[in-house]
């Protein structure tokens, strides 16, 4: 099993208790499965990651909803609504 690198941006880092986490993956998985694995035993994080306003990027590419897939060695970032300027 190799790890995927998980990034929690903005307020998600507070909810997850850290900005970065390694997630062991046996092979490619759907984003739905990855979200489920991350939220296991942590209902607050599970609810936060399920919010439609939270976007997911795999290797810095924004995915449509939770449709994409990712595997070991990938970087998966969870992005709450942004505010620049």
């Amino acid at each position: 099993m190799a790890d995927a690198r998980i990034l929690f941006l903005g307020r998600l880092a507070e909810i997850a208790g850290g900005r970065e986490r390694a997630l062991p993956l046996g092979g490619p998985a759907s984003l739905g499965e990855i979200v489920e694995a991350l939220g296991r035993g942590d209902p607050e994080l599970a609810a936060a990651l399920a919010a439609p306003s939270v976007r997911v990027a795999v290797n810095q590419q924004i995915q449509r909803g939770r449709e994409g897939r990712a595997g070991p060695g990938d970087e998966i970032a969870f992005l709450p609504p942004v505010s620049g300027g």
Binding site: Q60, P80, P81, V82, S83, G84, G85
Partner: protein, 148 residues
């Protein structure tokens, strides 16, 4: 040029350097967004970003502005990290042959950065901290450009 800066920057010096040598430009427009604190309510603003991704998303917004308006050049500098009241957060500057595209492109850049630049703002004050997300009118400001 696009830059995400972890340290304070001087908007006047940056704008002057940006405009230097462009004798073909008849218009230089710029906007500086500053960290404000009403009656000491904010002691600092922390801007989280996603290195690499943040720069490429700003570049997309910048490319859109260049495609829409007749511009000679653009400059966007955005702070990340801890920003104190009075410090600039963002500088958007444009050079064009004429006034209208220069001014409109600055307005466009700011409307798009507000809702599209990947930063996450946390306001730190004497009473604690809170996350800032775009307001409804920020999204409306962005929408107005779609009809034009």
């Amino acid at each position: 040029m696009i830059r995400v800066s972890p340290t304070p920057f001087d908007p006047q010096a940056e704008t002057a350097a940006f405009a230097a040598g462009h004798t073909e430009a008849g218009a230089l427009a710029s906007f500086v967004g500053v960290c404000r604190s009403e009656t000491g309510a904010v002691t600092a603003l922390h801007l989280d970003h996603y290195p690499g991704f943040t720069e490429s998303e700003i570049a997309r917004i910048d490319a859109e502005a260049r495609a829409r308006f007749a511009l000679i050049d653009t400059l966007v500098i955005h702070r990340c990290g801890m920003v104190r009241p009075g410090e600039p957060i963002v500088l958007a500057a444009t050079l064009a042959a004429h006034r209208k595209p220069a001014l409109q492109a600055v307005d466009f850049l700011m409307d798009y950065l507000k809702t599209g630049a990947p930063f996450w703002k946390r306001e730190i004050g004497p009473d604690g901290e809170r996350w800032i997300e775009p307001r409804a009118d920020d999204y409306e400001a962005r929408e107005q450009w779609k009809e034009k």
